[in-house]
């Protein structure tokens, strides 16, 4: 299979303009004849559904939550990047492009990243106009802060709730279209299969989570904005409901899955406290702007932090990376936290934690300023840990947070199934092997507001759509598949709960395919995942029935997909014999312990094709060319 990435020819600065000019347009009067399905209502899905509705298409938008406003984008804290250069500190579209390609450790597609940097500017304008209450200077202009991995201040924010405010902006735009009648919203509805007819995506099969009804929805195009798959690790900063099911079922219908092993570990989360733990709580990366990270110099130093004098502390990021210090990118910060804890210098009861200390910042800026910048985060920390971070340094530890891998898409954000578009975290395209802080919100909104509404139009205008009857064999087949899986899960009636399997799976993936990986470990993981998956289909216990609200059944279907994805992640990690970004193979490191890329052999996106349950997937490579930002060893020293 040959992948056509459809990157426009010519200079990168003009690529998006040229591509848009060449796109076919749908006559305004014909737009309402086209029905478009959007699955997911977060920053990507919500903004896409709203914009397509504004353009005049008939849109159906689906989410598993009770309201589109609950999508997990809402939990993003820190901010959103844009190359506005309002701070006059040397920022530009070119610099944001450069930082993102470099930050992604040269495993992203240049043309996509350049377009993202270009569009970043429009996103801020749009959100301001919607009434997103971004932080302001006294003069009334927008203010910015700096964020990990960047040396300019280009991050726009709304206290520690930027994701919430941007999502509410998209949600309000979406509800405006619901009121206008152009968007029909289907909450508490989960997509369980993709309908492919004559090689094109023509609809989805859903399960109504309240009544258990299985329905089909037919359309001319399907857009997935269903987020990432971090919950494969069980413990992650994702919402409990975040899952890979929509993407995975599309993958099983023929959409290639790219770079599944590229997962991001966020350096600043509250450490695990017990085995009942259901999720990990992120502390915004913005805390690293004013907090200093340290551990005791001596191993096993159990003194309280205020009893450890300056001379016996190791501010290890400032020591190893003097120019970026505490603001090194996430992969570097996480890995270094792991190293110092592996050395036995970790803090807290479990020894899996490092200090994030604000005492210098409070002395320098005063408590009030710190309260203004991080008040809600400090309160959250105190509620969870019962410790006051104004008095005692926070304890933090890395946790899985974001997944750069996802369904493969071309420059038009279309997957390998024509008519199936994938946007936001669910696709693979813009962040390479590591995502920079404040770039996820940017990508979600860029895809949803400004890219997919154009490219879907081009697809609709370029194709003819036969009407589809509900007796079509592909539709019958898809419904039967969904109903069989549901019945099968309920019928096993074994001894172990879904959560107990999920927890065990997560531990395997975290231990062998987490912050650092080895060939031997990955082989072990693949073996263990397969064993556990067999046991799952033999011994899982799903109480309740299929015809009402059954949260155990919802989880059971999602965990079944996580099992298959987990194996693919390990296969992908094993295939990639290099270290890059968040993918750190212990066998491939520089003498200083940094990630050692192998551009000669691995400068490609690894795209996997499904070949049936339990079979090894096919690998197709999309070579990555770097014409504008030349690959170099990433250095933050």
């Amino acid at each position: 299979m040959e992948l056509r990435s459809r990157i426009p020819a010519g200079p990168i600065q003009e690529a998006w303009d040229n591509a848009r000019f060449e796109m076919k347009l749908v006559n305004p009067a014909n737009k309402r004849k086209h029905h478009i399905i959007v699955v997911g209502s977060g920053l990507a899905g919500g903004s896409a559904a709203a914009t397509l509705g504004e353009l005049g298409y008939r849109v159906s938008c689906f989410c598993f939550q009770d309201s589109p406003r609950r999508a997990h984008s809402i939990a993003a804290q820190g901010g959103i990047n844009a190359a506005k250069n309002y701070q006059n500190d040397g920022d530009s579209i070119w610099r944001l492009f450069y930082d993102t390609v470099k930050g992604g450790d040269f495993r992203a597609r240049e043309a996509n990243v350049y377009r993202l940097a270009q569009i970043s500017v429009q996103i801020i304008d749009q959100c301001v106009a919607q009434g997103v209450p971004f932080a302001r200077e006294y003069g009334g202009t927008l203010t910015n802060r700096s964020f990990g991995g960047a040396q300019v201040s280009r991050t726009f924010y709304a206290r520690g709730q930027t994701g919430q405010q941007l999502l509410l902006g998209a949600y309000q735009a979406l509800e405006r279209q619901v009121q206008a009648g152009s968007v029909t919203m289907y909450p508490r509805t989960e997509m369980l299969d993709l309908i492919v007819i004559d090689g094109r995506a023509r609809g989805i099969v859903t399960r109504n989570l309240v009544t258990g009804e299985v329905n089909t929805h037919i359309a001319d195009a399907v857009i997935l904005g269903t987020g990432g798959y971090g919950n494969v690790f069980y413990l992650s900063t994702n919402a409990k409901g975040s899952n890979v099911t929509a993407c995975w079922r599309a993958h099983k219908r023929g959409a290639l899955f790219a770079n599944p092993c590229f997962t991001q570990i966020h350096p600043t989360c509250i450490p695990v406290s017990g085995d009942y733990q259901s999720k990990l709580t992120l502390m915004s990366e913005s805390l690293r702007n004013d907090g200093r990270i340290w551990v005791p110099l001596k191993k096993g130093d159990k003194r309280a932090p205020d009893q450890i004098p300056e001379s016996e502390r190791d501010y290890y990021l400032e020591r190893r990376y003097p120019s970026f210090g505490n603001l090194v990118p996430r992969d570097v910060a996480s890995r270094n936290a792991k190293y110092v804890c592996d050395e036995g210098r970790g803090v807290g009861e479990t020894g899996l934690g490092v200090y994030l200390d604000f005492s210098d910042a409070i002395r320098r800026l005063g408590r009030k300023t710190i309260e203004e910048r991080y008040g809600n985060l400090f309160d959250m920390y105190q509620r969870i840990t019962d410790e006051d971070p104004y008095q005692v340094p926070m304890r933090i530890y890395p946790a899985i947070h974001y997944t750069m891998g996802g369904l493969w898409v071309d420059y038009h954000l279309m997957s390998t199934i024509p008519g199936l578009f994938v946007i936001g975290e669910a696709n693979f395209s813009d962040h390479g092997a590591n995502r920079l802080g404040a770039s996820a919100l940017m990508q979600g909104l860029s895809d949803g507001y400004f890219i997919v509404p154009y490219t879907v139009g081009d697809y609709l205008a370029s194709n003819k759509f036969e009407s589809v009857s509900d007796s079509h064999p592909e539709i019958r087949n898809a419904i039967a598949c969904v109903q069989q899986t549901v019945q099968k899960l309920l019928a096993i009636n074994g001894k172990r709960t879904v959560d107990s399997f999920h927890r065990q799976l997560g531990k395997v993936v975290w231990d062998y395919c987490g912050m650092s990986r080895t060939a031997q470990g990955l082989e072990t993981a693949i073996y263990q995942i397969r064993e556990l998956r067999e046991e799952y289909w033999r011994d899982v216990k799903v109480p309740g029935s299929a015809d009402d609200l059954n949260q155990s059944l919802e989880k059971a279907g999602r965990v079944a997909d996580f099992f298959e994805l987990a194996e693919l992640m390990c296969v992908d990690a094993l295939e990639r014999n290099e270290s890059c970004g968040g993918h750190f193979r212990e066998e491939y490191q520089t003498p200083e312990g940094e990630a050692q890329r192998d551009d000669d052999n691995f400068s490609y996106a690894a795209c996997w094709g499904y070949r049936g349950y339990g079979n090894r997937e096919d690998l197709v490579k999309e070579p990555l060319e770097f014409e504008y930002v030349h690959p170099s060893q990433r250095s933050y020293k």
Binding site: S47, T51, D66, S67, R69, R70, H72, I74, A75, Q126, C127, V128, A129, Q130, G131, P133, F134, R136, E137, Y138, T141, L142, R159, Q161, Q165, Y171, Q172, A173, E175, R176, V178, Q179, Y186, P187, R188, N208, E213, H217, I218, A239, K240, S273, Y276, Q277, S278, T281, D379, M380, I384, D386, F450, V468, S469, D470, S471, T497, D499, K541, P543, L549
Partner: protein, 276 residues
């Protein structure tokens, strides 16, 4: 620690519910209220009993999914905290905790502790936005916003739409929720052009949904996990009164509240299809 959870169990919206007591012997002071329910649900599943349905998602206090009454208080005893961030250390060993769903006509029960809050979405759809289509915005700094206005707008915009305000109000009023959005958008210069109509339409929809009227009791702000101030209700009333005068010649249309979930058993097909 040991607690007893006395939980409202109701199989479906239309079936009759009752309280059932469950001892939890292995609660831990560091776990959240929801993790305590997780532990209980694991035990129920192992005994082949139906686990307790409760709404939750982000578990960091921002998505607004979770929420129920604990001993008569929405989100429990800790101020400014949702149940997902309420740790068990705030209860005593041996406590009995009464858990029941939000009670309001506009929030019908779906199952156990899960209620239908689509009425909140319809209030936003009625006018809780600034009508600016994608692509039509001027430069971000072309609209200066005084820092104080931005801060106050943010205070109101922090609402997570959980519904605790309605559950706590003896009238089941949604005035704090609706007022928060009207205030957020009304304070900002971008929101001024639609200020009058927004208030009228949102208030009309709120009334249509069957929420009660506000009688200035203030329970809502007391339980609000984001501490939305009571003044947003004053702002709503002011905008509504001014709006009804300015817009007295305009007709206000509301959306019909619906509580059905079923899409009908018929398969949904493309309207252009031959036999659909």
């Amino acid at each position: 620690m040991r607690v007893t959870l006395k939980v409202w169990r109701q199989q479906r919206g239309k079936s009759k519910g009752k309280f059932v007591s469950y001892p939890v012997d292995n609660a831990n002071p560091d776990m959240s209220m929801l993790e305590c329910l997780d532990v209980l649900n694991e035990q129920l599943s192992e005994r082949r009993e139906d686990p307790i349905a409760f709404e939750h998602d982000c578990r960091e206090g921002i998505c607004g999914s979770c929420g129920f009454m604990i001993n008569g208080i929405a989100h429990g005893p800790l101020p400014a905290t949702t149940v997902c961030q309420l740790t068990m250390r705030h209860f005593k060993d041996g406590d009995e905790l009464l858990l029941e769903p939000w009670r309001a006509r506009a929030f019908p029960v779906i199952k156990d502790l899960v209620v239908d809050r689509r009425s909140f979405d319809r209030i936003i759809a009625a006018g809780g936005y600034i009508s600016v289509s994608t692509g039509s915005a001027p430069d971000g700094n072309a609209i200066p916003v005084a820092k104080e206005a931005a801060d106050r707008a943010m205070d109101a915009a922090a609402c997570i739409g959980c519904g605790a305000c309605v559950a706590a109000c003896p009238n089941a009023s949604a005035a704090l929720y609706t007022g928060a959005k009207i205030t957020h958008l009304g304070i900002l210069p971008q929101g001024k052009p639609e200020q009058d109509m927004r208030a009228i339409r949102m208030v009309a929809q709120m009334n249509e949904e069957g929420f009660g009227g506000c009688t200035n009791i203030g329970e809502c702000t007391g339980v609000c996990p984001k501490e939305i101030p009571l003044e947003v209700i004053a702002a709503m009333n002011r905008d509504f009164f001014r709006g009804t005068w300015h817009e007295r010649d305009n007709v206000v249309i509301t959306m019909r509240p619906f509580t059905e979930w079923s899409y009908g058993s018929k398969l949904q097909v493309d309207p252009r299809s031959t036999d659909g």
